[in-house]
Protein backbone atom coordinates (compact mmCIF):
# COMPACT_ATOMS: atom_id res chain seq x y z
CA UNK A 1 0.00 0.00 0.00
CA UNK A 2 1.29 3.43 -0.92
CA UNK A 3 1.35 6.27 1.59
CA UNK A 4 -0.36 8.70 -0.73
CA UNK A 5 -2.08 7.81 -3.98
CA UNK A 6 -3.44 10.25 -6.52
CA UNK A 7 -5.60 8.80 -9.27
CA UNK A 8 -6.84 10.53 -12.43
CA UNK A 9 -7.10 13.90 -10.75
CA UNK A 10 -8.70 16.63 -12.88
CA UNK A 11 -9.50 20.23 -12.01
CA UNK A 12 -10.94 22.84 -14.35
CA UNK A 13 -11.26 26.57 -13.78
CA UNK A 14 -13.80 27.65 -16.37
CA UNK A 15 -12.28 26.74 -19.71
CA UNK A 16 -8.82 26.15 -18.31
CA UNK A 17 -7.86 22.66 -17.29
CA UNK A 18 -5.34 23.27 -14.55
CA UNK A 19 -4.78 19.64 -13.66
CA UNK A 20 -5.55 17.02 -16.25
CA UNK A 21 -5.84 13.35 -15.37
CA UNK A 22 -2.78 13.20 -13.12
CA UNK A 23 -1.89 9.92 -11.44
CA UNK A 24 1.02 9.29 -9.11
CA UNK A 25 1.87 7.90 -5.70
CA UNK A 26 4.24 8.48 -2.81
CA UNK A 27 5.68 5.69 -0.71
CA UNK A 28 6.71 5.72 2.91
CA UNK A 29 10.10 7.27 3.35
CA UNK A 30 10.18 8.60 -0.16
CA UNK A 31 11.20 12.09 -1.24
CA UNK A 32 9.16 12.97 -4.30
CA UNK A 33 9.66 16.10 -6.37
CA UNK A 34 6.97 17.61 -8.54
CA UNK A 35 8.40 20.02 -11.09
CA UNK A 36 7.17 21.94 -14.08
CA UNK A 37 7.29 25.42 -15.54
CA UNK A 38 5.14 28.26 -14.23
CA UNK A 39 1.44 27.58 -14.67
CA UNK A 40 1.91 23.85 -15.01
CA UNK A 41 -0.65 23.20 -12.29
CA UNK A 42 1.73 22.20 -9.52
CA UNK A 43 0.20 24.34 -6.82
CA UNK A 44 -3.35 23.47 -7.92
CA UNK A 45 -2.48 19.79 -7.66
CA UNK A 46 -1.04 20.48 -4.26
CA UNK A 47 -4.12 22.36 -3.09
CA UNK A 48 -6.34 19.50 -4.18
CA UNK A 49 -4.29 16.90 -2.36
CA UNK A 50 -4.26 18.94 0.85
CA UNK A 51 -7.99 19.61 0.73
CA UNK A 52 -7.96 23.32 -0.09
CA UNK A 53 -9.62 22.69 -3.47
CA UNK A 54 -12.11 20.08 -4.60
CA UNK A 55 -11.22 18.14 -7.74
CA UNK A 56 -13.70 17.80 -10.61
CA UNK A 57 -12.86 14.13 -10.83
CA UNK A 58 -10.33 11.65 -9.50
CA UNK A 59 -9.43 10.48 -6.04
CA UNK A 60 -6.79 11.08 -3.41
CA UNK A 61 -6.03 8.19 -1.11
CA UNK A 62 -4.02 8.37 2.09
CA UNK A 63 -2.93 5.02 3.47
CA UNK A 64 -5.57 3.39 1.27
CA UNK A 65 -8.37 5.58 2.62
CA UNK A 66 -10.23 7.90 0.26
CA UNK A 67 -9.62 11.45 1.49
CA UNK A 68 -10.77 13.35 -1.62
CA UNK A 69 -12.30 16.71 -0.72
CA UNK A 70 -11.80 16.25 2.99
CA UNK A 71 -11.47 19.52 4.89
CA UNK A 72 -7.85 20.66 5.30
CA UNK A 73 -7.79 20.47 9.09
CA UNK A 74 -9.17 16.94 9.07
CA UNK A 75 -6.51 15.92 6.60
CA UNK A 76 -3.82 17.47 8.77
CA UNK A 77 -5.08 15.45 11.71
CA UNK A 78 -4.88 12.31 9.60
CA UNK A 79 -1.24 13.12 8.95
CA UNK A 80 -0.90 15.19 5.78
CA UNK A 81 0.65 18.57 6.58
CA UNK A 82 1.62 21.27 4.13
CA UNK A 83 3.43 24.57 3.73
CA UNK A 84 2.42 27.45 1.49
CA UNK A 85 4.20 28.85 -1.53
CA UNK A 86 3.50 32.38 -0.33
CA UNK A 87 4.30 32.32 3.38
CA UNK A 88 1.32 32.60 5.70
CA UNK A 89 2.59 33.13 9.24
CA UNK A 90 0.37 34.30 12.13
CA UNK A 91 1.82 37.79 12.07
CA UNK A 92 0.69 38.91 15.51
CA UNK A 93 2.06 35.85 17.28
CA UNK A 94 5.71 35.29 18.11
CA UNK A 95 7.54 32.59 16.21
CA UNK A 96 7.25 30.03 18.99
CA UNK A 97 3.50 30.58 19.34
CA UNK A 98 3.10 30.09 15.60
CA UNK A 99 4.30 26.57 16.16
CA UNK A 100 2.23 26.25 19.33
CA UNK A 101 -0.97 26.75 17.29
CA UNK A 102 -0.17 23.62 15.30
CA UNK A 103 0.59 21.81 18.55
CA UNK A 104 -2.92 22.72 19.73
CA UNK A 105 -4.47 20.75 16.87
CA UNK A 106 -5.78 17.31 17.91
CA UNK A 107 -2.92 15.54 16.16
CA UNK A 108 -0.27 17.95 17.36
CA UNK A 109 -1.47 17.76 20.96
CA UNK A 110 -1.64 13.99 21.20
CA UNK A 111 1.11 13.77 23.75
CA UNK A 112 1.07 17.25 25.21
CA UNK A 113 -0.92 18.35 28.19
CA UNK A 114 0.81 21.29 29.74
CA UNK A 115 1.73 24.61 28.27
CA UNK A 116 5.30 24.17 29.38
CA UNK A 117 5.63 20.99 27.40
CA UNK A 118 4.06 22.81 24.50
CA UNK A 119 6.74 25.47 24.72
CA UNK A 120 9.43 22.83 24.98
CA UNK A 121 8.01 20.86 22.08
CA UNK A 122 7.74 24.05 20.03
CA UNK A 123 11.39 24.72 20.81
CA UNK A 124 12.30 21.27 19.46
CA UNK A 125 10.48 22.05 16.24
CA UNK A 126 12.24 25.39 15.91
CA UNK A 127 15.55 23.67 16.53
CA UNK A 128 14.82 21.33 13.62
CA UNK A 129 14.70 24.28 11.26
CA UNK A 130 17.23 26.46 13.07
CA UNK A 131 14.95 29.24 14.29
CA UNK A 132 15.60 29.19 18.04
CA UNK A 133 17.33 32.57 17.95
CA UNK A 134 14.21 34.27 16.68
CA UNK A 135 11.62 32.41 18.76
CA UNK A 136 10.31 35.44 20.66
CA UNK A 137 10.10 37.80 17.72
CA UNK A 138 6.62 38.48 16.41
CA UNK A 139 6.35 36.77 13.04
CA UNK A 140 5.72 40.11 11.34
CA UNK A 141 9.29 41.18 12.12
CA UNK A 142 11.23 38.27 10.68
CA UNK A 143 12.60 37.82 7.19
CA UNK A 144 11.22 35.80 4.34
CA UNK A 145 13.82 33.05 4.55
CA UNK A 146 13.04 32.49 8.22
CA UNK A 147 9.30 32.55 7.55
CA UNK A 148 9.76 29.74 5.03
CA UNK A 149 11.45 27.71 7.73
CA UNK A 150 8.77 28.70 10.25
CA UNK A 151 6.12 27.32 7.90
CA UNK A 152 7.98 24.06 7.86
CA UNK A 153 8.28 23.96 11.64
CA UNK A 154 4.55 24.55 11.90
CA UNK A 155 3.80 21.71 9.50
CA UNK A 156 6.20 19.43 11.37
CA UNK A 157 4.51 20.21 14.67
CA UNK A 158 1.51 18.10 13.61
CA UNK A 159 3.88 15.14 13.19
CA UNK A 160 2.74 14.42 9.64
CA UNK A 161 3.21 11.10 7.88
CA UNK A 162 3.17 12.93 4.58
CA UNK A 163 4.80 16.34 4.46
CA UNK A 164 3.85 18.50 1.50
CA UNK A 165 6.18 21.43 0.77
CA UNK A 166 4.97 24.01 -1.75
CA UNK A 167 8.01 25.74 -3.26
CA UNK A 168 10.11 25.69 -0.10
CA UNK A 169 13.03 27.29 -1.94
CA UNK A 170 11.00 30.11 -3.47
CA UNK A 171 12.66 33.47 -2.88
CA UNK A 172 15.58 32.08 -0.92
CA UNK A 173 19.20 33.03 -1.55
CA UNK A 174 21.77 30.27 -2.22
CA UNK A 175 22.90 30.20 1.39
CA UNK A 176 19.36 29.80 2.72
CA UNK A 177 18.60 27.24 0.03
CA UNK A 178 21.58 25.23 1.13
CA UNK A 179 20.51 25.41 4.77
CA UNK A 180 16.95 24.36 3.97
CA UNK A 181 18.17 21.48 1.83
CA UNK A 182 20.11 20.21 4.81
CA UNK A 183 17.12 20.64 7.12
CA UNK A 184 14.90 18.67 4.76
CA UNK A 185 17.47 15.90 4.53
CA UNK A 186 17.81 15.81 8.31
CA UNK A 187 14.04 15.72 8.80
CA UNK A 188 13.93 12.88 6.32
CA UNK A 189 16.63 10.94 8.14
CA UNK A 190 14.97 11.46 11.54
CA UNK A 191 11.68 9.96 10.37
CA UNK A 192 12.49 7.27 7.85
CA UNK A 193 8.85 6.35 7.25
CA UNK A 194 7.71 9.87 6.44
CA UNK A 195 6.94 10.65 2.80
CA UNK A 196 7.87 14.12 1.62
CA UNK A 197 6.48 15.78 -1.50
CA UNK A 198 8.19 18.90 -2.78
CA UNK A 199 6.73 21.14 -5.46
CA UNK A 200 9.38 23.31 -7.01
CA UNK A 201 10.54 24.89 -10.18
CA UNK A 202 14.05 25.57 -8.99
CA UNK A 203 15.54 22.35 -10.24
CA UNK A 204 19.09 22.64 -9.02
CA UNK A 205 18.29 22.40 -5.31
CA UNK A 206 15.51 19.90 -5.76
CA UNK A 207 17.27 17.35 -7.96
CA UNK A 208 19.93 16.80 -5.32
CA UNK A 209 17.57 15.64 -2.59
CA UNK A 210 14.61 13.82 -4.14
CA UNK A 211 14.41 10.15 -5.02
CA UNK A 212 11.86 10.43 -7.79
CA UNK A 213 10.51 13.29 -9.91
CA UNK A 214 7.20 13.94 -11.63
CA UNK A 215 7.06 16.57 -14.36
CA UNK A 216 3.86 18.49 -15.02
CA UNK A 217 3.17 20.56 -18.08
CA UNK A 218 -0.11 22.36 -18.75
CA UNK A 219 -1.81 20.23 -16.15
CA UNK A 220 -0.62 16.90 -17.47
CA UNK A 221 2.01 14.54 -16.22
CA UNK A 222 4.58 14.28 -18.99
CA UNK A 223 7.34 12.35 -17.30
CA UNK A 224 8.24 10.41 -14.19
CA UNK A 225 11.47 8.88 -13.03
CA UNK A 226 14.75 9.24 -11.19
CA UNK A 227 16.28 12.74 -11.20
CA UNK A 228 19.11 11.67 -13.54
CA UNK A 229 16.66 10.25 -16.05
CA UNK A 230 14.46 13.31 -15.93
CA UNK A 231 17.41 15.61 -16.52
CA UNK A 232 18.05 13.80 -19.80
CA UNK A 233 14.41 13.45 -20.83
CA UNK A 234 13.84 15.13 -24.20
CA UNK A 235 10.24 16.10 -23.48
CA UNK A 236 11.22 17.77 -20.22
CA UNK A 237 14.04 19.71 -21.81
CA UNK A 238 11.63 20.80 -24.52
CA UNK A 239 9.16 22.07 -21.96
CA UNK A 240 11.76 23.98 -20.02
CA UNK A 241 13.93 25.24 -22.85
CA UNK A 242 11.47 25.46 -25.69
CA UNK A 243 11.41 23.30 -28.82
CA UNK A 244 14.76 22.88 -30.51
CA UNK A 245 14.33 23.92 -34.09
CA UNK A 246 16.40 21.55 -36.11
CA UNK A 247 18.13 22.73 -39.20
CA UNK A 248 19.81 19.74 -40.65
Amino acid sequence: MHLLEVENLTKRFGGLTAVNNVTFHVDEGELLGIIGPNGAGKTTLFNIITGFLRPDSGTVKFRGEDVTGLEPHKLVNKGVARTFQVVRPFRHLPVIANVAVALKSPRGSRKIEWLKTTARKALDMLEDVGLTDLMLEPAENIGHGSLKRLEMARALATEPDALMLDEPFGGLNPLETDFLTKSIQRIHLDHPTRGIVIVEHKLYALMKIVHRVIVLHEGEKIAEGKPEEIAKNKKVIEVYMGKATLHA
Partner: protein, 357 residues
Protein backbone atom coordinates in the same frame (compact mmCIF):
# COMPACT_ATOMS: atom_id res chain seq x y z
CA UNK B 1 21.10 26.03 33.07
CA UNK B 2 18.69 24.52 30.56
CA UNK B 3 15.74 24.86 32.90
CA UNK B 4 16.44 28.53 33.63
CA UNK B 5 16.73 29.12 29.91
CA UNK B 6 13.40 27.39 29.35
CA UNK B 7 11.76 29.27 32.19
CA UNK B 8 12.97 32.56 30.78
CA UNK B 9 11.85 31.53 27.34
CA UNK B 10 8.46 30.56 28.71
CA UNK B 11 7.89 33.73 30.71
CA UNK B 12 9.00 35.83 27.80
CA UNK B 13 6.80 33.72 25.55
CA UNK B 14 3.89 34.26 27.88
CA UNK B 15 4.54 37.99 28.13
CA UNK B 16 4.59 38.33 24.37
CA UNK B 17 1.72 36.10 23.48
CA UNK B 18 -0.52 37.05 26.31
CA UNK B 19 0.21 40.76 26.59
CA UNK B 20 -0.09 40.54 30.37
CA UNK B 21 -0.94 43.99 31.67
CA UNK B 22 0.72 44.93 34.91
CA UNK B 23 -1.32 43.11 37.54
CA UNK B 24 -0.71 45.97 39.90
CA UNK B 25 -2.60 48.35 37.63
CA UNK B 26 -5.60 46.05 37.52
CA UNK B 27 -5.51 45.78 41.31
CA UNK B 28 -5.26 49.56 41.67
CA UNK B 29 -8.22 50.09 39.37
CA UNK B 30 -10.24 47.52 41.29
CA UNK B 31 -9.47 49.00 44.67
CA UNK B 32 -10.24 52.46 43.32
CA UNK B 33 -13.61 51.23 42.09
CA UNK B 34 -14.34 49.52 45.41
CA UNK B 35 -13.52 52.56 47.50
CA UNK B 36 -15.14 55.07 45.16
CA UNK B 37 -18.64 55.04 46.75
CA UNK B 38 -17.13 55.38 50.23
CA UNK B 39 -15.99 58.92 49.36
CA UNK B 40 -19.59 60.01 49.54
CA UNK B 41 -20.31 60.60 45.87
CA UNK B 42 -23.80 61.55 44.86
CA UNK B 43 -26.16 58.79 43.70
CA UNK B 44 -26.09 60.02 40.11
CA UNK B 45 -22.38 59.28 39.79
CA UNK B 46 -22.91 55.85 41.36
CA UNK B 47 -25.63 54.98 38.87
CA UNK B 48 -23.43 56.13 35.99
CA UNK B 49 -20.59 53.99 37.31
CA UNK B 50 -22.99 51.04 37.51
CA UNK B 51 -23.77 51.46 33.82
CA UNK B 52 -20.04 51.70 33.14
CA UNK B 53 -19.49 48.34 34.88
CA UNK B 54 -22.10 46.74 32.67
CA UNK B 55 -20.73 48.36 29.54
CA UNK B 56 -17.28 47.07 30.52
CA UNK B 57 -18.56 43.46 30.55
CA UNK B 58 -20.31 44.05 27.24
CA UNK B 59 -17.22 45.64 25.66
CA UNK B 60 -14.91 42.88 26.88
CA UNK B 61 -17.19 40.23 25.36
CA UNK B 62 -17.06 42.11 22.03
CA UNK B 63 -13.30 42.32 22.24
CA UNK B 64 -12.91 38.55 22.61
CA UNK B 65 -14.96 37.99 19.46
CA UNK B 66 -13.57 40.82 17.33
CA UNK B 67 -10.24 41.82 18.80
CA UNK B 68 -9.04 38.29 19.44
CA UNK B 69 -10.81 36.11 16.91
CA UNK B 70 -11.33 38.65 14.13
CA UNK B 71 -15.04 37.95 13.64
CA UNK B 72 -16.18 41.50 12.90
CA UNK B 73 -19.52 41.91 14.62
CA UNK B 74 -21.41 45.18 14.39
CA UNK B 75 -24.58 43.75 15.87
CA UNK B 76 -23.54 42.90 19.37
CA UNK B 77 -26.68 44.60 20.70
CA UNK B 78 -28.40 41.38 19.65
CA UNK B 79 -26.94 39.50 22.62
CA UNK B 80 -27.49 42.46 24.92
CA UNK B 81 -31.15 42.57 23.92
CA UNK B 82 -31.56 38.81 24.08
CA UNK B 83 -30.18 38.78 27.61
CA UNK B 84 -32.52 41.56 28.68
CA UNK B 85 -35.64 40.19 26.97
CA UNK B 86 -35.09 36.56 28.00
CA UNK B 87 -34.86 37.53 31.63
CA UNK B 88 -37.86 39.85 31.30
CA UNK B 89 -40.03 37.31 29.49
CA UNK B 90 -39.21 34.58 32.00
CA UNK B 91 -40.31 36.96 34.74
CA UNK B 92 -43.41 38.13 32.88
CA UNK B 93 -44.77 34.72 31.94
CA UNK B 94 -43.48 32.42 34.63
CA UNK B 95 -42.97 34.87 37.46
CA UNK B 96 -39.53 33.48 38.21
CA UNK B 97 -37.26 35.44 40.56
CA UNK B 98 -34.33 37.23 38.96
CA UNK B 99 -31.77 34.91 40.57
CA UNK B 100 -33.16 32.25 38.24
CA UNK B 101 -34.08 34.34 35.21
CA UNK B 102 -30.65 35.94 34.81
CA UNK B 103 -28.70 32.65 34.73
CA UNK B 104 -31.30 31.27 32.31
CA UNK B 105 -30.98 34.40 30.16
CA UNK B 106 -27.22 33.89 30.11
CA UNK B 107 -27.67 30.31 28.92
CA UNK B 108 -30.11 31.48 26.24
CA UNK B 109 -27.62 34.18 25.20
CA UNK B 110 -24.85 31.62 24.83
CA UNK B 111 -27.14 29.35 22.79
CA UNK B 112 -28.01 32.31 20.55
CA UNK B 113 -24.30 33.03 20.14
CA UNK B 114 -23.84 29.49 18.90
CA UNK B 115 -26.89 29.77 16.64
CA UNK B 116 -25.84 33.13 15.17
CA UNK B 117 -22.37 31.71 14.68
CA UNK B 118 -23.58 29.30 12.00
CA UNK B 119 -24.78 31.85 9.40
CA UNK B 120 -21.85 34.08 10.31
CA UNK B 121 -19.37 31.31 9.45
CA UNK B 122 -20.16 31.75 5.79
CA UNK B 123 -19.14 35.39 5.64
CA UNK B 124 -15.96 37.28 6.39
CA UNK B 125 -14.77 40.80 7.09
CA UNK B 126 -17.06 43.61 5.98
CA UNK B 127 -19.74 41.15 4.85
CA UNK B 128 -19.84 39.57 8.25
CA UNK B 129 -20.11 43.05 9.77
CA UNK B 130 -23.16 43.77 7.59
CA UNK B 131 -24.80 40.42 8.28
CA UNK B 132 -24.28 40.74 12.02
CA UNK B 133 -25.62 44.31 11.94
CA UNK B 134 -28.89 43.00 10.50
CA UNK B 135 -29.64 40.54 13.30
CA UNK B 136 -30.61 42.97 16.09
CA UNK B 137 -32.73 44.93 13.59
CA UNK B 138 -34.55 41.73 12.63
CA UNK B 139 -35.14 40.88 16.26
CA UNK B 140 -36.45 44.32 17.16
CA UNK B 141 -38.84 44.19 14.17
CA UNK B 142 -40.13 40.90 15.53
CA UNK B 143 -40.60 42.50 18.93
CA UNK B 144 -42.54 45.37 17.36
CA UNK B 145 -44.68 43.01 15.31
CA UNK B 146 -45.73 40.64 18.09
CA UNK B 147 -46.50 43.42 20.50
CA UNK B 148 -48.93 41.33 22.55
CA UNK B 149 -46.01 39.18 23.73
CA UNK B 150 -43.12 41.60 23.60
CA UNK B 151 -45.11 44.75 24.43
CA UNK B 152 -43.77 46.57 21.34
CA UNK B 153 -42.30 50.01 21.74
CA UNK B 154 -42.76 50.26 25.49
CA UNK B 155 -41.05 47.02 26.27
CA UNK B 156 -41.61 44.80 29.26
CA UNK B 157 -41.85 46.99 32.32
CA UNK B 158 -41.80 46.48 36.03
CA UNK B 159 -38.91 44.08 36.21
CA UNK B 160 -37.78 43.30 39.75
CA UNK B 161 -34.67 45.10 40.93
CA UNK B 162 -31.75 43.36 42.61
CA UNK B 163 -32.36 44.63 46.14
CA UNK B 164 -36.08 45.45 46.39
CA UNK B 165 -36.09 45.70 50.18
CA UNK B 166 -33.43 48.41 50.38
CA UNK B 167 -33.93 52.15 50.26
CA UNK B 168 -33.18 53.88 46.95
CA UNK B 169 -29.72 55.07 47.86
CA UNK B 170 -28.63 51.74 49.32
CA UNK B 171 -30.13 49.94 46.37
CA UNK B 172 -27.95 51.99 44.05
CA UNK B 173 -24.89 51.10 46.10
CA UNK B 174 -25.95 47.45 46.01
CA UNK B 175 -26.36 47.57 42.23
CA UNK B 176 -22.96 49.17 41.92
CA UNK B 177 -21.15 46.53 43.95
CA UNK B 178 -23.07 43.70 42.34
CA UNK B 179 -22.20 44.85 38.83
CA UNK B 180 -18.61 45.40 39.92
CA UNK B 181 -18.50 41.80 41.16
CA UNK B 182 -20.01 40.56 37.89
CA UNK B 183 -17.48 42.63 35.98
CA UNK B 184 -14.61 41.25 38.02
CA UNK B 185 -15.69 37.64 37.48
CA UNK B 186 -16.40 38.12 33.77
CA UNK B 187 -13.16 40.00 33.18
CA UNK B 188 -11.09 37.30 34.89
CA UNK B 189 -12.80 34.51 32.94
CA UNK B 190 -12.59 36.34 29.59
CA UNK B 191 -8.98 37.25 30.24
CA UNK B 192 -8.08 33.67 31.17
CA UNK B 193 -9.76 32.37 28.03
CA UNK B 194 -8.07 34.95 25.83
CA UNK B 195 -4.68 34.01 27.24
CA UNK B 196 -5.10 30.25 27.22
CA UNK B 197 -4.12 27.83 24.50
CA UNK B 198 -7.50 28.50 23.01
CA UNK B 199 -6.74 32.21 22.99
CA UNK B 200 -3.64 31.63 20.87
CA UNK B 201 -5.73 29.66 18.41
CA UNK B 202 -8.25 32.54 18.33
CA UNK B 203 -5.46 34.94 17.37
CA UNK B 204 -4.24 32.51 14.71
CA UNK B 205 -7.71 32.61 13.14
CA UNK B 206 -7.61 36.40 13.22
CA UNK B 207 -4.22 36.38 11.52
CA UNK B 208 -4.72 33.75 8.84
CA UNK B 209 -7.62 31.37 8.64
CA UNK B 210 -6.15 29.19 5.89
CA UNK B 211 -2.88 28.78 7.73
CA UNK B 212 -4.85 27.81 10.84
CA UNK B 213 -6.57 25.10 8.86
CA UNK B 214 -3.22 23.97 7.51
CA UNK B 215 -2.04 23.69 11.11
CA UNK B 216 -4.82 21.20 11.77
CA UNK B 217 -7.12 23.61 13.58
CA UNK B 218 -10.86 23.09 13.23
CA UNK B 219 -11.57 26.75 12.50
CA UNK B 220 -15.35 26.28 12.54
CA UNK B 221 -15.28 24.88 16.06
CA UNK B 222 -13.17 27.70 17.42
CA UNK B 223 -15.23 30.41 15.73
CA UNK B 224 -18.43 28.98 17.18
CA UNK B 225 -16.71 28.80 20.56
CA UNK B 226 -15.84 32.50 20.31
CA UNK B 227 -19.43 33.39 19.36
CA UNK B 228 -20.83 31.34 22.23
CA UNK B 229 -18.53 32.79 24.88
CA UNK B 230 -19.08 36.29 23.60
CA UNK B 231 -22.84 35.84 23.51
CA UNK B 232 -22.81 34.48 27.04
CA UNK B 233 -21.13 37.50 28.60
CA UNK B 234 -22.95 40.03 26.43
CA UNK B 235 -26.31 38.60 27.49
CA UNK B 236 -25.21 38.65 31.12
CA UNK B 237 -24.55 42.38 30.72
CA UNK B 238 -27.92 42.84 29.01
CA UNK B 239 -29.89 40.94 31.65
CA UNK B 240 -28.24 42.82 34.52
CA UNK B 241 -28.87 46.14 32.78
CA UNK B 242 -32.54 45.37 32.23
CA UNK B 243 -33.06 44.61 35.91
CA UNK B 244 -31.31 47.80 36.95
CA UNK B 245 -33.42 49.89 34.56
CA UNK B 246 -36.49 47.81 35.41
CA UNK B 247 -37.43 47.54 31.75
CA UNK B 248 -36.49 45.54 28.64
CA UNK B 249 -37.33 47.63 25.59
CA UNK B 250 -36.34 47.83 21.89
CA UNK B 251 -33.69 50.57 22.38
CA UNK B 252 -31.54 47.84 23.96
CA UNK B 253 -31.38 46.33 20.47
CA UNK B 254 -30.65 49.62 18.71
CA UNK B 255 -27.59 50.49 16.66
CA UNK B 256 -26.38 52.61 19.56
CA UNK B 257 -25.88 49.54 21.71
CA UNK B 258 -24.14 47.83 18.78
CA UNK B 259 -21.66 50.65 18.39
CA UNK B 260 -20.97 51.40 22.02
CA UNK B 261 -18.77 48.28 22.51
CA UNK B 262 -16.83 49.31 19.39
CA UNK B 263 -16.32 52.78 20.82
CA UNK B 264 -15.16 51.60 24.24
CA UNK B 265 -12.86 48.98 22.72
CA UNK B 266 -11.10 51.51 20.55
CA UNK B 267 -10.90 53.96 23.43
CA UNK B 268 -9.17 51.28 25.49
CA UNK B 269 -7.28 49.16 22.96
CA UNK B 270 -8.44 46.27 20.82
CA UNK B 271 -7.53 42.64 21.48
CA UNK B 272 -6.56 43.21 25.09
CA UNK B 273 -9.78 42.40 27.02
CA UNK B 274 -8.80 44.95 29.67
CA UNK B 275 -8.91 47.71 27.03
CA UNK B 276 -12.70 47.94 26.75
CA UNK B 277 -13.01 47.84 30.55
CA UNK B 278 -10.90 50.97 30.89
CA UNK B 279 -12.60 52.34 27.79
CA UNK B 280 -16.03 51.95 29.37
CA UNK B 281 -15.12 54.29 32.23
CA UNK B 282 -13.52 56.77 29.84
CA UNK B 283 -16.67 56.62 27.73
CA UNK B 284 -18.97 57.44 30.61
CA UNK B 285 -16.60 60.11 31.85
CA UNK B 286 -16.64 61.78 28.44
CA UNK B 287 -20.34 61.20 27.89
CA UNK B 288 -21.88 62.07 31.24
CA UNK B 289 -19.32 64.56 32.46
CA UNK B 290 -17.70 66.22 29.46
CA UNK B 291 -20.65 66.30 27.06
CA UNK B 292 -23.41 66.78 29.60
CA UNK B 293 -21.92 69.05 32.22
CA UNK B 294 -19.12 70.91 30.43
CA UNK B 295 -20.50 71.29 26.91
CA UNK B 296 -24.10 70.95 28.08
CA UNK B 297 -25.55 68.82 25.33
CA UNK B 298 -28.93 67.73 26.63
CA UNK B 299 -29.07 64.06 27.47
CA UNK B 300 -32.02 63.53 25.13
CA UNK B 301 -29.96 64.31 22.02
CA UNK B 302 -28.44 60.86 22.00
CA UNK B 303 -27.57 60.98 18.31
CA UNK B 304 -25.43 64.08 18.68
CA UNK B 305 -23.50 62.34 21.42
CA UNK B 306 -23.15 59.25 19.26
CA UNK B 307 -21.90 61.48 16.45
CA UNK B 308 -19.21 62.90 18.71
CA UNK B 309 -18.10 59.41 19.74
CA UNK B 310 -18.13 57.94 16.25
CA UNK B 311 -15.98 60.90 15.15
CA UNK B 312 -13.59 60.17 18.00
CA UNK B 313 -13.45 56.49 17.00
CA UNK B 314 -12.85 57.39 13.35
CA UNK B 315 -9.92 59.56 14.38
CA UNK B 316 -8.53 56.87 16.68
CA UNK B 317 -8.79 54.17 14.01
CA UNK B 318 -6.93 56.34 11.51
CA UNK B 319 -4.31 57.51 13.95
CA UNK B 320 -3.82 54.45 16.19
CA UNK B 321 -5.48 51.47 14.48
CA UNK B 322 -5.28 49.28 17.57
CA UNK B 323 -6.77 51.82 19.96
CA UNK B 324 -5.31 54.38 22.32
CA UNK B 325 -4.66 51.90 25.12
CA UNK B 326 -2.85 49.54 22.79
CA UNK B 327 -0.71 52.41 21.51
CA UNK B 328 0.35 53.25 25.06
CA UNK B 329 1.06 49.64 26.10
CA UNK B 330 2.95 48.99 22.86
CA UNK B 331 5.15 51.99 23.63
CA UNK B 332 5.69 50.74 27.18
CA UNK B 333 6.59 47.30 25.84
CA UNK B 334 9.08 48.81 23.43
CA UNK B 335 10.64 50.66 26.35
CA UNK B 336 10.82 47.46 28.36
CA UNK B 337 12.33 45.56 25.47
CA UNK B 338 14.88 48.30 25.04
CA UNK B 339 15.75 47.99 28.72
CA UNK B 340 16.07 44.21 28.43
CA UNK B 341 18.35 44.54 25.44
CA UNK B 342 20.46 47.04 27.38
CA UNK B 343 20.69 44.56 30.25
CA UNK B 344 21.78 41.78 27.96
CA UNK B 345 24.38 44.00 26.36
CA UNK B 346 25.66 45.02 29.79
CA UNK B 347 25.93 41.36 30.82
CA UNK B 348 27.88 40.55 27.70
CA UNK B 349 30.28 43.39 28.31
CA UNK B 350 30.82 42.22 31.85
CA UNK B 351 31.63 38.75 30.59
CA UNK B 352 34.05 40.17 28.08
CA UNK B 353 35.81 42.15 30.77
CA UNK B 354 36.05 39.06 32.96
CA UNK B 355 37.61 37.15 30.11
CA UNK B 356 40.11 39.93 29.56
CA UNK B 357 41.12 39.79 33.19
Amino acid sequence: MVTTYLRRAYSSFAAHVFDIPPRLLALLLLSFLITLPLTGLNPYVISVMTSANILAIFGASWDLLVGRTGQMSLGHALFFGIGAYSSALLFEFYGLPLWITIPLAVVIGAACGLLIGFPCLRTKGPYLALVSMAFPLILSSIFYFFDDIFKGEFGIRGLPSFFPSLATKDRMLGNYYLTLLLLFISAVILYKIANSHTGIVFVSILDDELASKASGINVTKYKLMAFTISGLFASLAGAAYAHILGVANPPLLSLTWSFVPVIVTFLGGIGTIYGPIIGAYIYYLLDRYFLTIIIEIPYELIYIRLLVFTLIVAIIVIKWPRGIGRFVTDKLEDLQEGREIEEIMAEREKKKKKKQK
